[in-house]
C-alpha cells in the first residue's frame, strides 16, 4: 500500500486531508510540524508528503530542503498545500522541487486531480 505523510499544524486540515487521501488508497501518517514530519520520514520514508507551506517552526520549503538531504529523501513526491495564492510563492515551491501545489480550501476532486498530476494516483 502506498504511504502518505500529512504535515500540517492544523488538526482539522490533517483530519480532512487524511480522509481524502485514505479514500484514494493511501496509508496515512500525520505530523503537526516539520520536526515531527522529518522524524516520521527517518523512520519510514513515505511515497507522498502533503505539506503545509506556512508552518510556524519550519516552513514547508525548509522542510522539503531538509527532507531531500535525508537518506532516501529524494524519493517522496511532495505536494504543497497552502492558502497562499501568490503565483511567485507557488513558483518558488515548484522550483524547489514540489511535484504539485494545492490551494486551500480543497476538496476530494482537487486532491484526486493533483495526485494524478503528481504521478502518485
Amino acid at each position: 500500500m502506498k504511504t502518505c505523510l500529512v504535515v500540517d499544524e492544523s488538526r482539522v486540515v490533517r483530519k480532512v486531508a487524511r480522509r481524502l487521501v485514505e479514500d484514494r488508497g493511501f496509508a496515512v501518517a500525520e505530523a503537526g510540524d516539520g520536526m515531527e514530519g522529518l522524524a516520521w520520514c527517518r523512520a519510514m520514508m513515505p511515497d507522498l508528503v502533503l505539506l503545509d507551506a506556512s508552518m510556524p517552526l519550519m516552513s514547508g520549503l525548509d522542510f522539503m530542503r531538509r527532507l531531500r538531504l535525508e537518506p532516501g529523501g529524494r524519493a517522496p513526491k511532495v505536494i504543497f498545500c497552502s492558502a497562499e495564492t501568490n503565483l511567485e510563492r507557488i513558483r518558488e515551491a515548484l522550483d524547489a522541487g514540489a511535484a504539485e501545489y494545492i490551494i486551500k480550501p480543497f476538496d476530494g476532486d482537487i486532491v484526486a486531480e493533483k495526485l494524478a498530476l503528481a504521478g502518485v494516483a
Binding site: L87, F106, I110
Partner: protein
Amino acid sequence: MTADDNLFLAELCAELAGLKIDPHKGYLIESRLGPVARREGFGSVTELVQAVRARGEERLALACAEAMAPGETAFFRDRAVFEHVWREIAPQIARRRADGVVRIWSAGCGPGQEIYSLAMLQAEQPAPTGRVELFASDLSERLLDRARLGVYSSFEVQRGLSARQLVRHFENRDEHFQLAKRLRQDVRWRRVNLLDDLTPLGVFDVVMCRYVLSGLTDEARRRAADELARTVAADGVLVLGAGEAPPPGFVADPAFGCVLRRAVEVRAAA
C-alpha cells in the same frame, strides 16, 4: 414558486435554447435564477418569474434560459482527449491543408476553460506544421464576457490545470487568477444558439461540443447535432462528451469514443 411557474420555466428554456429542465427540480431553478433576480432588481425568483410571464420581455426570458444552461466545465476535461486532438488530429489535418491552417471551434464554451486549454497547448507545444485558429461560442453573452476576461477562482484553476500551467499562463488578479492576455487574444468569440442555422459560421476542422448536447431535449439535441455536423469539414472531427451519442453519419475513433469522424471518410480511408 408554484409548480406551474416551474413548468412554465422548463417550457421556456426548451423553447428558447432547447434546454432539458426537470420542472420537479424547483430547488435547482431557484438557485440558478437567484442571481438573475438580484441582478435585475427583483425581490425574489418568484417576482422574476412573474415578470417574465406578465411582460413577455425577450431579454428577461433569455436571461433566465441562459442561467439555466448547465455550466459544469473544467480545464482539460478528459485530458487525454485534448492531447489526442492537439498531437494527432490537428497535425494530420494541417498537413492536408494548402495553407496549413486548422480551425477549431469550442461550441458551448461556457466560461472558456475548454478553448483556453487548447490555447495553452498551443503555447506549450506549438504545432510543428501549420497554424491553429481558435473560435469559441456560447448562448450566453454573460458567459462570453466572463470567458473573454479569463478570470477564474482557485477552485476553477485547480480543476484540470497543473500548478506548472497555472504559474506559466496566469497572473494574480485580486483573489483570483487571470489567463495571460497573449492567450486570451488567441481566441475569437461569438454568441451562437446551436438551434439556429449554423452554416453562416463556415466549416471547422475540429468542432468540440462537449457535455452540451446531453443537456438538451431530445428534439433540440437532434437538431443541434445536425447543425453541428454540417459545420464539420469533410475530413474533420466532431468531439462530444464521453457517452454522448454520435449524430447520424458519424462514427467513433477506435481510440477515443468521443472523437467522431464522418463514416464516409472512415470507409474511404480503410
